[in-house]
């Protein structure tokens, strides 16, 4: 479904992503694992069009999407839950969720009614959000914010979900909860690309994984095999 070929990207200065080729098959969950600063976030941003790649290709459903604006890529079905969540903090929880479904909703008129089915679905999944639906997103706690970010992404009914460091900045107990949600999503047959610094958890929920170090893929394979590979551990602590 998604395929990159020798993708290069970066901000000012050197490339942070130095020629990465990955593949995500329909219905699978693929993890990008690597330490902070390995280039995972840059890769993910390049996939979604938030930064323009310096070289290489991104094929989504067989079409090259390099150079399209992020909003266009989002409309084609790639949904990113960005690192640091990036909620619309002055807006309410419900508005945040509605915005997730923005391309489908009427600009004027009864948008809430149009989206009510999806909203109900999200609120069932995250009851905490239903309780706080009219609260400002910025006033939520870290875990709730992450749930909202996930919820917002689900509202888009994406073909491919990309989660960038969903565990970042959360207490361990909340991290567990997030991973539980991810694995339940995966169970519904959603295609997921997960970028994660916590190798163990990431390898547990994914089918395949790529270990990234300094902008390049250093290891790839099924998650089960990688989990047993001592080199993975090495990539972190050594």
């Amino acid at each position: 479904m998604l395929k990159t070929e020798n993708l290069r990207a970066g901000y000012s200065g050197d490339d942070a992503v130095r020629g990465i080729s990955i593949e995500v098959a329909e219905g699978s969950c693929v993890a990008l694992v690597g330490a902070n600063g390995a280039g995972k976030s840059t890769l993910v941003k390049a996939l979604c069009g938030l930064i323009e790649p310096r070289g290489g290709k991104v094929l989504f459903g067989g079409k090259n999407i390099v150079g399209l604006p992020a909003s266009e890529i989002a409309r084609r079905g790639i949904s990113l839950c960005p690192e640091g969540r990036h909620l619309f903090s002055p807006l309410t929880v419900e508005e945040n969720l509605l915005l997730g479904a923005y391309p489908r909703l009427p600009s004027f008129g009864p948008f809430r009614r149009t989206a009510s089915g999806d909203l109900r679905h999200i609120y069932e999944m995250f009851p905490r959000l239903a309780e706080r639906r009219f609260q400002q997103a910025g006033s939520l706690s870290g875990g709730e914010q992450q749930m909202l970010a996930l919820g917002r992404m689900l509202m888009a009914r994406p073909r491919l979900m990309i989660l960038d460091e969903p565990s970042m900045g959360l207490a361990p107990i909340l991290v567990k909860e997030i991973f539980k949600t991810i694995s339940s999503l995966r169970a519904t047959g959603m295609t997921i690309l997960l970028s994660e610094q916590f190798a163990k958890s990431a390898l547990l929920v994914s089918d395949r994984a790529y270990i990234i170090e300094r902008g390049s893929v250093v290891l790839e394979g099924t998650s089960a095999s990688l989990a047993k590979n001592p080199a993975v551990m090495e990539a972190y602590l050594g």
């Binding site: 000012s12 200065g13 050197d14 942070a16 330490a35 902070n36 600063g37 690192e83 640091g84 903090s89 910025g138 006033s139 939520l140 706690s141 870290g142 709730e144 914010q145 460091e165 565990s167 970042m168 900045g169 959360l170 207490a171 361990p172 107990i173 991290v175 567990k176 909860e177 991973f179 539980k180 694995s183 994660e196 610094q197 916590f198 190798a199 163990k200 958890s201 990431a202 547990l204 300094r214 551990m233 972190y236 602590l237 050594g238």
Partner: protein, 634 residues
């Protein structure tokens, strides 16, 4: 593309030669281009030159939109006029003009320069309006709206005719130019340059933003006062209404048009705003200029078309504007009525076409064609040495807390760093490490708890205070001074000491070969080393390195380890945030681990490596521990 010509001269020397030649030419011009009008224009240009060099200190060097310059100009003009009315001699009258602008300018600068962007613009605008109101209303002093008429006083009992007055203005312009240039080449100027690029970094490195800004503003005001004095003597009649919004906008346009952060730019801008609106009254010249401008602007889009690209709107916009201007010039019966509109189109084309102004565009072109001899590099002295060793504790944090919104970013952290100790701070992304450094260095004010650096308690939330206590830091997201060279970046940070000492610091981090390269052109890894050199040059009592190895290549990391090792050997206590475990393992005496804002472990690198809590924090939870989670959901 071009080999370029090598002149065998330094850029600075060439600039000075060209400038002197131009001034001599300008001084001789009245002999060739005769008439009162020519003199009037040239004098106005010289006066505006002084004024715009002053305005450029805020608009260019400080990077703030200053709308008070026209009012300061007015205050200077009135100062001079009143002094002349009281019988002052010419130099004294000019001094009165300078004082007339400088004092209110400094009074404005103190509150206004704490602000930025629209807020700064608005407070200067308010000041400007207020000044005009005062000039208008204090009729007993300023004669209000009726205006003041004065005649030009004698210069040392010599009467000044129009030509000699022009020479006087020209001479003062030269002095103002040279003085500004010298000022902005000095450490003061470097500091101004640095604080525009990153006020956070300048404050954290003890350069001090506000002090420098106020001084720069005061200098700009003094020049406005001088220009005002000259203006009074030039026209001999003053009216408050002449210094309103229109003049302000015109001055601002002049600076941008000419090119910011350059005396050349201010001079060219002055020439344009003094001459162009007046010269454009001449229809022939007008048509010629506009047509010529039009031809110039169609070059980029045609070039784009020739290389089979659709020209960008940015490239095409100036051409569209100029074509419209040409259409107006040749098809409107009364051009004089459309003068302002055509002038606007002209300006639009220049501002879009040359975002760095005329001076910026010309300099860039010249640098392409001409190779100047680079400045010499002095031998290095000094370097990392163990100069400051005190007993006791380098850093003590007690019960430090900070939350943002609902998130506790730092939660009850208590930590000590001993003298000469290197403490590693690790933890997953978002665990609060950088927030902790921001609290120590005074960028954030803690919600509760206290920070003690080398025995002193800095004022909470003040970068400068933490710096004076001895803390110096680098930044996770680089805060380089883009406009400065590597050498200048060090010079501006070090407290005294000359170029050779600065070279010593560069040598210590291995950047001695890149001393004359601008930060904007340096690689990421080099900038990381430069930030360390910057922090070192302040001779800190506590060095905080925030992810120094992030984004570095393997050989660079090896160099970094060596560098931090030598700093450590010199006895400087270090707080090191790092993800690369090998860096931490090799350098740190102790390691602290943060997770979710809390300190979860503290010990030697080996202890930490084996700590199950740490391993879990890094590798993430096991799904096996369900019970925990279910307990929470109930």
């Amino acid at each position: 593309m071009f080999a370029g010509i090598s002149l065998g001269l330094r850029e600075n020397t060439v600039e000075r030669i060209v400038r002197t030649a131009i001034f001599i030419g300008l001084a001789a011009l009245p002999a060739l281009w005769q008439g009162q009008y020519a003199l009037g224009l040239l004098t106005l240009m010289a006066v505006y030159g002084v004024l715009l060099i002053g305005l450029d200190t805020t608009v260019g060097y400080l990077g703030q939109i200053n709308l008070a310059q026209a009012a300061l100009f007015a205050l200077g003009a009135y100062g001079t006029a009143l002094a002349i009315g009281a019988g002052a001699s010419l130099p004294l009258a000019l001094a009165a003009g300078i004082a007339g602008a400088l004092l209110p300018g400094a009074a404005l600068a103190l509150p206004a320069l704490r602000l930025e962007g629209p807020q700064f613009a608005l407070s200067t605008l308010s000041f400007a309006t207020l000044s005009i109101i005062v000039l208008n209303e204090c009729e007993s002093v300023t004669n209000g709206a009726l205006g003041l008429s004065i005649s030009r006083p004698l210069l040392f009992s010599l009467p000044l005719d129009a030509t000699s007055f022009y020479w006087l203005c020209l001479a003062l312009l030269f002095v103002a130019w040279e003085a500004s240039k010298t000022l902005f080449r000095s450490r003061f100027g470097l500091a101004i340059e640095a604080l525009r690029d990153s006020p956070t970094a300048t404050d954290a490195l003890g350069i001090g933003a506000l002090r420098h800004k106020v001084l720069a503003f005061a200098w700009g005001s003094a020049l406005a006062g001088l220009a005002g004095g000259l203006h009074t003597m030039n026209f001999g009649y003053l009216q408050p209404a002449a210094f309103g919004y229109d003049l302000m906008v015109m001055l601002l346009l002049g600076v941008v048009f000419g090119g910011r952060r350059s005396q050349w730019g201010a001079f060219l801008g002055a020439a344009v705003i003094a001459m162009l609106p007046n010269l454009l009254s001449n229809r022939t010249l007008f048509s010629f200029l506009v047509s010529f401008g039009c031809v110039l602007t169609v070059v980029p889009p045609i070039r784009a078309l020739l290389s089979h690209k659709v020209p960008l709107f940015r490239q095409a916009a100036p051409a569209i504007a100029m074509t419209l201007a040409v259409t107006l010039v040749f098809f409107i019966p009364n051009v004089e009525e459309w003068r302002k509109g055509i002038f606007a189109l002209f300006l639009f084309a220049v501002v879009v076409g040359f975002p760095n102004g005329i001076a910026g565009a010309v300099t860039a072109t010249l640098r392409q064609f001409i190779h100047f001899t680079p400045l010499p590099i002095l031998p290095a002295t000094g370097g990392i040495s163990s100069s400051k060793k005190t007993e006791g504790i380098a850093l003590r944090l007690s019960d430090l807390c900070k939350s943002f919104g609902g998130m506790r970013a730092v939660d009850n952290v208590t930590l000590d760093i001993g003298q000469g100790e290197t403490l590693g701070l690790i933890g997953p992304n978002g665990s609060g490490k950088t927030t902790l450094v921001n609290l120590i260095s005074g960028l954030y004010t803690p919600d509760s708890g206290s920070v003690e650096i080398a025995g002193k308690r800095p004022v909470c939330g003040s970068l400068m205070s933490a710096f004076s206590a001895g803390a110096a830091r680098t930044f996770q997201n680089l805060q380089p001074f883009h406009g400065l060279t590597a050498l200048e970046s060090i010079l501006v940070c070090q407290q005294g000491g000359g170029e050779s000492e600065a070279m010593g610091w560069l040598l210590a981090v291995g950047l001695e070969g890149k001393a004359r390269i601008r930060c904007s052109g340096m690689s990421y890894g080099d900038l990381r080393f430069l930030e360390i050199a910057r922090a070192l040059s302040t001779r800190p009592r506590l060095l905080m390195l925030d992810e120094p190895a992030a984004g570095m290549s393997k050989p660079d990391i090896a160099r970094l380890i060596e560098l931090i090792g030598s700093i450590k050997r010199a006895g400087v206590p270090i707080l090191l945030i790092e993800h690369h475990q090998n860096v931490v393992a090799e350098l740190c005496d102790r390691v602290a681990v943060m997770d979710g804002g809390r300190l979860i472990a503290l010990g030697t690198p080996n202890q930490i490596r084996r700590d199950p809590k740490v391993i879990e924090a890094y590798l993430g939870a096991d799904d096996t521990e369900r019970d925990n989670m279910e307990a929470r959901q109930c």
